[in-house]
Symmetry: C2
Subunit: 152 residues, 2 copies
């Protein structure tokens, strides 16, 4: 089994997982700190999905750290399939969540809603952009692992 | 090259393509007929993407019809890759568009906006649901063709 940059258990994968976790945490912070996001379904959805992406990415980052620094990676196709399916589902959900939040924020901004006081909507927009970045990195993880799985 | 149900140039693929086209046209009709969708970005996005899915699906349905009824299918990996990438990009875009439209519609319904007169928002919601169904079928086409491509 040859090494492939970005596949589970390599330094590349570790970097991708950290990227996902950082963008998701940033999205959560922009969305939650000192705001009342729970009055809008789309924002609740975004927070829920980002709250799922963070532990998923950190767990897989831990697996990568163990593989890279302590012992050579063990990657049976079963485990790889679970990782691929999880990445896949989370990437769809985070794309959906970020688009929903972005469109509701755009709508709020356009309608001049009283909810958008003190640049709150800008923060929501940044949170949606962070979720979108997290989706992009999740997608690249998924694609690399699918490619690797097909070559196993 | 063995036959695979749903791969490009088979009866299964033809059925999937017709499903995509029918759901996309339904979404377009629900969104456009007798409404003023263009005042909301999310709705314009949905209409644009559905307007891309319809010709894409019909073109590939034509290819399938030619393959099934007139001559055996010719599927070089290059053409298959283009089809897979096109399906892939359109599936992401249609998921994003349907989620955006659904979240804006939900928001309009919840806020009791005057735009939602005479069950207009129900129609938008149905249009978003049709786009979501179109996404599901596009995704299955993509997955089947990726699987087939990896076995070529």
């Amino acid at each position: 089994m040859e090494e492939m940059a970005g596949a589970l258990g390599t330094i590349g994968s570790l970097a991708l997982r950290f990227g996902q976790a950082i963008f998701s945490v940033a999205s959560l912070l922009f969305m939650c700190l000192n705001t009342e996001f729970y009055s809008y379904t789309a924002f609740c959805f975004l927070v829920t999905i980002m709250g799922l992406v963070v532990p998923w990415s950190l767990t897989l980052a831990l697996v990568d750290v163990l593989s890279v620094y302590f012992k050579p990676p063990i990657r049976p196709p079963g485990i790889l399939s679970i990782v691929v399916v999880g990445d896949w589902v989370l990437s769809f959900l985070s794309l959906a969540a970020s688009c929903s939040a972005a469109s509701v924020t755009g709508f709020l901004l356009a309608s001049g809603d009283s909810f958008c006081i003190e640049s709150l909507c800008i923060r929501y927009r940044v949170a949606a952009a962070m979720a979108f970045m997290s989706w992009l990195i999740l997608l690249s993880s998924t694609l690399i692992n699918i490619w690797f799985l097909s070559s196993v």
